[in-house]
């Protein structure tokens, strides 16, 4: 497998009241073609900033971004625009991110117009095709956003993101604003479309259950730092970083018989000054080195012996 996106030491800082706030701080990460990478973290962990920076919606302050091996870190806007059709984004709240003044057809055709693709009638056909793909009736074309429910609006948001046939889709909390029953439908839709269109997905969410359902690999962010990244099963069954452990143990268990499960003490580590150095512990599992006693550590065979401190 090859990477579609490579991040090297990526940082994005904001200035808050004269102070420098390191929203994303020194993140090195590869996104493989065809995988779904889940990004979890609490509010303030930098997961949204990371998603937006790797799309170049924000200008990175440090580090490098490679898209299919080509550096895009400092490309000027007119050079980045043609690339935008390769990576698209689905936002949390479609009511905020889609225009209420346009009808659905216009919303879906706008990206094609910006990219100067297809003729007007082809664009219309494409819009109808996308409506069908996301399971909305053809009559939606002439309607406006307020005529739809939350779940339907998010389907429109997904249709718009996919109308350019992108290679990479970044979904930032796409179901957080939806009711659970609708949530399931939208998640299933995203999964189906990913398979059908051979998409690479970055799925950003605070909901560890949803991320588990959607992802192949999961990255844990905390205060702008990447603390741990591993294949889904590995991360959920064998978390190493104490923060990951406490995050996982605070998920409610859907069985009242197990309600007295020992919930681990919640560990909120201090933010380290420098970005942590990640160590590969095998099975594609990387974890921040400051929690591993490297001297007693033998990569493949004695994972249990990792001392945490």
């Amino acid at each position: 497998m090859s990477s579609i996106i490579q991040l090297h030491n990526l940082s994005k800082y904001f200035s808050v009241g004269g102070e420098l706030h390191k929203a994303v701080d020194g993140i090195t990460l590869d996104i493989q073609k065809g995988e779904t990478l889940g990004i979890v973290g609490e509010s303030g962990s930098g997961k949204t900033t990371l998603g937006r920076t790797l799309m170049r919606l924000y200008k990175p302050d440090q580090g490098q971004i490679f898209f299919e091996g080509k550096e895009i870190t400092h490309l000027p806007e007119d050079k980045i625009r043609p690339l935008r059709k390769e990576f698209q984004m689905v936002f949390q709240n479609p009511s905020d991110s889609l225009s209420p003044h346009y009808n659905v057809g216009e919303i879906l055709e706008e990206p094609l117009l910006i990219q100067d693709l297809l003729t007007p009638s082809e664009r219309t056909n494409k819009a109808y095709e996308m409506l069908e793909k996301v399971g909305l009736p053809k009559t939606s074309y002439h309607k406006r956003l307020h005529e739809f429910s939350g779940g339907q609006r998010q389907r429109i948001g997904i249709a718009r993101a996919l109308v350019l046939n992108p290679k990479l889709l970044i979904a930032d909390e796409p179901v957080s604003a939806l009711d659970v029953s609708v949530q399931a439908q939208v998640l299933n839709l995203l999964k189906d479309l990913q398979k059908e269109m051979n998409l690479t997905c970055v799925f950003i969410s605070h909901d560890l259950n949803v991320v588990h359902y959607m992802s192949d690999r999961v990255a844990v962010l905390y205060l702008g730092h990447l603390l741990e990244v591993a294949p889904k099963k590995e991360l959920y069954t064998n978390p190493i970083h104490p923060y990951t452990k406490s995050l996982l143990s605070s998920i409610p268990i859907h069985d009242p018989e197990l309600r007295n499960h020992s919930r681990k003490q919640i560990v909120l580590p201090e933010k380290s000054i420098n970005p942590p150095h990640l160590v590969d512990v095998g099975n594609g599992h990387l974890v921040a080195a400051d929690v591993i006693n490297i001297t007693t550590f033998d990569t493949q065979k004695e994972k249990q012996d990792i001392s945490i401190g």
């Binding site: 009711d179 029953s181 399931a184 999964k191 406490s246 409610p252 009242p256």
Partner: protein
């Protein structure tokens, strides 16, 4: 089940807009026993919040209670005077809302916010007020300096703690928590719910927990009411309900949440269990029929006890339709 602290009987609430009437709550019966946590679970439009707002007379102006009774300590809360209700709010029953940001006056310091409620209820000197407020802050796990801070200086979890401190300042025997952790992170969520749970245990108080999250229900509730379209469709003690969910909507809600223990490749959604033939507004507020597995059912009016302490609104089969 211990003695009931609060009983809602056959509550009907409707909204009036430009001559049209929309029924939001249709004949809800609900019992909150002393010292227990009762969860009401449902989605937007199920009537769960309207039911809880009815208890304290906090309904929006466009809503009216058509019939029913809410019995609390031998009083019908729908009949008490405004003055009496004012006393009950905070001292007997208090409420924590979902959006702490919107519930805290941004122009007042935390200390003022908390002592404001104390002043209204007890005659205390300024010094006593302050030390009582500090005790409350400590109880919800906040440090003393928060007393002199404005809400804007606090994180979401801290704001929710301040709100809980305010709600608990009158030592209520019933705390209504309407989605108290929905906008919070998971680590903070478990802390806040533990806090509420500890208050319940230490004071033998009751909690009415309004939520859409079956995980939260499984962890904290003693009894569960599942609401759909303004009606209770299933109710029972939490163990029974999780062991043996019967109503298709309950089953749908439980299975539509992704769980880490799941190995299923695909999520089932509620519509796999329930499909409503009626339109959008109808679906939200007053379904007259359901269709399950291509059969249409009338929405019946009665809850039936299917096993001890487990009630389900059963379905009358109407006729099979193709879909």
């Amino acid at each position: 089940m211990s003695a009931p602290l609060l009983e809602i009987k056959d509550l009907h609430v409707s909204f009036h807009e430009k001559k049209s009437k929309i029924t939001a709550v249709q004949g809800v019966d609900l019992t909150i026993p002393k010292g227990e946590t009762v969860a009401v679970i449902g989605e937007s439009g199920s009537g769960k919040s309207i039911t809880s707002l009815s208890i304290l007379g906090l309904l929006p102006l466009s809503a009216s209670i058509d019939s029913g009774a809410i019995l609390f300590k031998d009083k019908n809360l729908l009949k008490v005077s405004n003055k009496e209700m004012q006393y009950i709010r905070g001292s007997e029953i208090s409420m924590v809302f979902q959006d702490a940001q919107a519930s805290l006056n941004p122009a007042m310091k935390v200390g003022v916010l908390i002592t404001e409620g104390l002043k209204a209820r007890k005659k205390l000197t300024r010094h006593e007020q302050r030390s009582e407020a500090l005790r409350l802050l400590r109880m919800v796990g906040l440090k003393n300096h928060v007393y002199d801070q404005f809400p804007s200086q606090l994180s979401g979890g801290m704001k929710q703690r301040v709100l809980i401190a305010m709600a608990l300042s009158g030592e209520p025997s019933l705390l209504i928590a309407d989605e108290p952790t929905t906008s919070l992170d998971v680590t903070v969520q478990s802390q806040i719910l533990d806090l509420i749970n500890n208050y319940k245990i230490e004071n033998d108080a009751s909690i009415l927990l309004i939520t859409h999250d079956f995980g939260v229900v499984a962890e904290y509730a003693d009894r569960v009411y599942v609401m759909f379209g303004g009606k209770v469709v299933e109710a029972g003690d939490v163990y029974t309900l999780f062991r043996n969910p019967i109503h298709p909507y309950t089953k749908g809600l439980i299975s539509s949440i992704p769980k880490i223990s799941d190995t299923e490749e695909r999520l089932k959604s509620v519509s796999d269990f329930v499909f409503e033939e009626v339109g959008y507004v109808g679906r939200r507020f007053a379904p007259e029929t359901y269709s399950i597995e291509n059969k249409v059912y009338d929405a019946p009016s009665e809850l039936v006890e299917v096993e001890p302490d487990h009630y389900v609104r059963l379905f009358v089969e109407k006729e099979a339709v193709g879909r």
